[in-house]
Point group: C2
Chain length 403, copies 2
């Protein structure tokens, strides 16, 4: 008998019909003899609706009460889904954060799950029941309701899978799985059958919005097998394992690209210890998310050029902060607002020679100029002019046999 | 220092603006030096929205899960109101049913509050905080969420006022108070300043939808002073006391009328013990609500006529049940689908001679025929042709000095 955690996202439970459909999926899993713990999100749109209400009252809405407010969304879904299961003769029961309880620590609106009492739920599973749990929430040691940040139902599902020692954690969503690149833009994109946690993390952080990064990290840490699949088709999804369990026939798993990037270069900044910290600390404090950072060895040993990327909306603010920063000396700041980051990701890259060269050659064949390069063990990213994005992605997708 | 329970109904908290307005009312009460416990309903429309979702899934939605579902409505309001109070610098905190806890007994969707742990909330009040509690709900001894029936927030407020030993319980709603008759139909209707629990109960059961009858009953049982007032005006509301605290300058307090009534008469039914039980037991089992019942002394000592009223929609079903009832013998059943019940209510009636006569004379002066009469200590009801309803109400309102 296999113990599974099934997580259903907001669009999967967005209407009463969809909740009835989800109930049928659960029934099938249950009647196949599995022990099922279900984790649900709020119905699509619900959380935004509640946030809007709170904003109408205050832009700085009290965080304790924000958690009380938002946690009601998953409560509604858990009750509706449990009722839908009962209706089709599946023994089921909703459990609220305080009834379990799901213990969290950390700040309101940004806590994390640390433990959970599983005894009563395990008894219920042994007694052939399906347990429906609310994602995204828990209670603090003081007994207050807490939430674990937007999109946190993925993190809930993985934490719950870990605490229950589940055999797998299946993330049901509105896409078929993880793709080799964006299927909306590149029609030859293919669904990836198996992918490692590392690759999934790189793809997530590169804009593939299939699963929350922190949830993948937790799954990796505790080696919980994940599967991302669609609620709306019967197709197989993407399985996410540890690297050693994957047979890499292909060196590159996927091609990702980011939108709305801008590149800034600080020309002839002093090359001395602490200069990078002096540049980036004020940006971080201003909540500016700096992505790629590239610094070459300086030619004259005294000054160097530092290039980095930020979101396009942050360019003006970033420039202003750099100009007001009395701790750094430099000649000038130049920026290019219309760049894109193209990345190839693959756990097999490290063991396959020539990947880097093949990427650069391919881009050159298409007359695409590379503005900056950054590499990690399983990822290779380049910055190019934005207008070349799709051309580059298509080319790379083809030459690395992903079509 | 006065301890007050303030209850705000669904329309009073129906939008974020209204919640902000309610926060101001509470701030005023709090800064006047009172200890304030607030009981809130779900935002107007919310409960129906959730019920509709459940009905889309099942007409016989699981009752345990129905309670989980519906209780989320008051949770949302309590969080929004508490956030709105914090925003205007009033110390406030929402408490959920399980955090208090509010203990209930009885069936799911129809429980009643039996106790509550008030220690922590009293400490919070002593510490100048305002406690926001969800109406309409509690938890069972088993730790499941329960609700106390539609409109149950009034009952919650009164039960909470009793358990806290509050000095008063104020019901904020969308009308100015209790009126001498329906102000929408009879413009000369006047707001009643003071009314006894008994009179309020008669008026409630006669169709004045200002407050839930069971809540008034509880308040009467424990002598909790009530006040019904508008959230949207600064006008004084209606105070509801025990009878001995009211000075009756007027013998009649209000004129009520019911709509959609029908009158049935069973002609020449056998006059023997048990016949009434034989007639009404099957009707009760079929959920038919029988209102007035009139039986005269029989002239021939063998048969009598029994007249009673039911809602118009139930006439066909009632007639069918009577015809299928083999336990009763009668000559025929006649019915009149277009009747109305007009009642005068007043705790002073019993001590004022001639009220009955004056009512009958007034109706006769207007050429209104009385089809049936029923009296109690503080109420006198007559059945008349429906077309005469407004004429009768206006006349009675005038002659009993209510204009």
């Amino acid at each position: 008998m296999v113990k599974k955690v099934l997580k259903f996202g907001g669009t999967s439970v967005g209407t009463s019909e969809r909740i009835q459909h989800v109930a049928k999926i659960i029934k099938k899993e249950r009647f196949a003899g599995n022990k099922i713990v279900v984790v649900v999100s709020a119905m699509a749109g619900k959380t935004n609706e509640l946030i809007n209400l709170s904003k109408q009252i205050s832009e700085e809405f009290n965080k304790r009460e924000m958690d009380v407010l938002l946690s009601s969304g998953e409560q509604v879904t858990s009750a509706l889904l449990s009722g839908a299961l009962t209706e089709i003769d599946v023994k089921a029961k909703s459990w609220q954060n305080w009834q379990i309880p799901i213990l969290t620590e950390g700040e309101h609106t940004n806590s994390r799950i640390i433990n959970m009492n599983i005894e009563k739920i395990n008894e219920y599973l042994d007694d052939d029941g399906v347990a429906i749990l609310p994602g995204f929430q828990g209670i603090s040691k003081k007994g207050d309701i807490t939430t674990i940040g937007r999109g946190g139902s993925d993190a809930s599902a993985v934490a719950i899978a870990k605490i229950f020692n589940a055999d797998s954690c299946e993330i049901y969503t509105d896409v078929d799985g993880v793709f080799s690149t964006d299927p909306n833009k590149i029609p030859v994109a293919k669904k990836i059958e198996k992918i490692s946690y590392d690759e999934m993390l790189e793809l997530s952080s590169l804009g593939a919005k299939v699963m929350q990064s922190s949830a993948v990290q937790t799954a990796m840490m505790y080696a919980i097998p994940l599967e991302v699949k669609s609620t709306f088709t019967e197709r197989k999804g993407t399985k996410i394992f540890s690297q050693e369990n994957i047979d890499y026939s292909k060196s590159v798993t996927g091609v990702a690209y980011s939108k709305d990037d801008a590149k800034l270069t600080i020309i002839s900044v002093e090359d001395k210890p602490g200069v990078a910290a002096n540049i980036f600390e004020p940006l971080s404090k201003a909540q500016i998310n700096v992505d790629m950072v590239i610094q070459n060895i300086s030619s004259d040993q005294k000054t160097t050029d530092i290039t980095f990327t930020v979101k396009r909306d942050d360019v003006a603010k970033t420039t202003q902060i750099l100009k007001n920063n009395s701790k750094i000396k430099y000649k000038e700041i130049i920026h290019n607002n219309k760049v894109a980051k193209i990345s190839i990701v693959g756990a097999g890259m490290v063991s396959t020679p020539g990947i880097t060269y093949r990427m650069f050659r391919a881009l050159s064949d298409e007359d695409i100029n590379i503005l900056a390069i950054s590499t990690s063990e399983i990822k290779l990213s380049v910055i190019i002019e934005e207008e070349n994005t799709l051309k580059a992605v298509k080319k790379l997708h083809t030459i690395f046999d992903l079509d």
